[in-house]
């Protein structure tokens, strides 16, 4: 069994990891959008 303080610490760690996940998600989403736009930029030039 874990103590209450250990559980609080685990929850805080989980929050940090979720925040890192959101940042990485934005980067991956931007990559997908960039690939989508690439063809149009190429054909306009």
């Amino acid at each position: 069994m874990t103590t209450p303080s250990e559980r609080l610490e685990a929850a805080a760690e989980l929050d940090r990891r979720r925040a890192a996940s959101r940042r990485l998600a934005w980067v991956l989403g931007a990559v997908a959008l960039a690939i989508y736009a690439l063809g149009f930029i190429y054909y306009r030039s």
């Binding site: 990891r17 979720r18 996940s21 998600a25 997908a32 690939i35 989508y36 690439l38 063809g39 149009f40």
Partner: protein, 534 residues
Amino acid sequence: MSNVTSIDHHGEGHHAEHYQGGIMRWLTTTNHKDIGTMYMTFALIMFFIGGAMILAVRAELFQPGLQLMQPEFFNQLIGVHALIMIFAALMPAATGFANWQIPLMIGAPDMALPRINNWGFWLLPPAATLLTLPFILAIFGVGDGAVATGWTLYAPLSVQGGMGVDFAIFSIHILGISSILGSINIIVTIFNLRAPGMTMMKLPLFAWGWLITAFLLIATIPVLAGAVTMLLTDRHFGTHFFNAAGGGDPILFQHLFWFFGHPEVYILLLPLWGLMPHVLATFSRKPIYGYTAQVYSFIAIGLLSVVVWAHHFFTAGMPVPALLYFMYSTMFISLPLAVLFFCWVATMWRGAMSFETPMLFAQGFIVLFGLAGLTGLVLADVAADAQYHHSYFVVAHFHYALFAGGIMGVMTGVYYWLPKWTGHMFSETLGKWHFWLTVVSFNLTFMPQFFLGLAGMPRRIPDYALQFVEFNAISTVGAFILGFSQLLFAINIYKCVKGGAKASAKVWEGAEGLEWDLSSPPPHHSWETQPVIK
């Protein structure tokens, strides 16, 4: 692998009573298990809809001549069948597995982005509706039916096609957004929410297979989306990307489509290749053989899959060096794939094997998917492909890949994890009947199609010459047995969800992994305190 030093179930399930009841639970849920269940249910429903469409096609092909439908409707059925089976059945099933299993297997409390997870699923029903709606509209005299270009949407046919093409383009965009949201979620979950101590080289192979799949989706779905957007602007906004008369190039569409389309095959199969070692190890009561080799094979297959696309249109014409490059690079993929096959067989070698339903499906998968690989090598040969291209040989080949490799892989996973999900054992008797009927009728359906292709029968035709009669009749009989035997699958799942013998936490004697440390079914909120891996 699952050397857990501390498991704390304290508090698990204490939120279970807080979620809403009825339809609102499913509309608003952010729980990975609920969303996984919705993906799997949706995939099963669409599997039967797509299957019904192709049974109508096979009924038409039972005899030569036009029996039941006009060629236009025939074309619509085969195109929508493929789109549904790929985008609305196989891909959602794989995403359903990911949602249910990845958090359980890596010791995460949920997916990292639960709301996006919910959104990713709920984009699917409207997209599937858009694919099939033109059939309904045509009944009321609106439009000329669904997309009739086949799933490949080749220009210029798709530039000139009816309203169904616009519906398909819109649907593909929505399906693509859903896939990308799901992929992002899976990548960030695997990277950031693994249990402490679970290094990447301790990650379950199922998660590895999905990780490579997710990167492939992010790299290739935008290319497909770009291609169909260009198609849309060609159709309605005066551009000429694919119109030769306006300076465009219809072959460009084939390049863009297959840059997505070939990795799509691996997108459909990699999660199942990741699942297979778990099942084989469980029922052989041995550790997975060649974990590292399999991980590197997944990576190699992922990388190679994006550089071989033009083997799908050798006959469109391209310079000889390009033909040679695409031929050899395609054949090269068989090397990492052979490593996987070797590892699967080596995992079973001298194991204490038993043949419960999931293991039977895994055996069927290995043998029949092996045939897909071998016939794929034939098609990869430029000289041979000139004869087999656009013939029933290709149809048989990719059904060995996507039914035996894809659908039977999904069935392996469903039978393997269903007791964990529901808390009940399914009927082994029904499962075994389902397996044997599926394997026999599958071969009855598709083996004759190899011979039809070798004899020169082209695909996508509602009528054919008299020399193809016998094999077509056999294929149709097989297809109907195959189709109706899938009802056993649905019945078995339904009965298992409703009740049955209680499943223990470790459902299968030889199973290893974190998910088997949780109860069956797992608590609504699992791994709220993450386990620590040695």
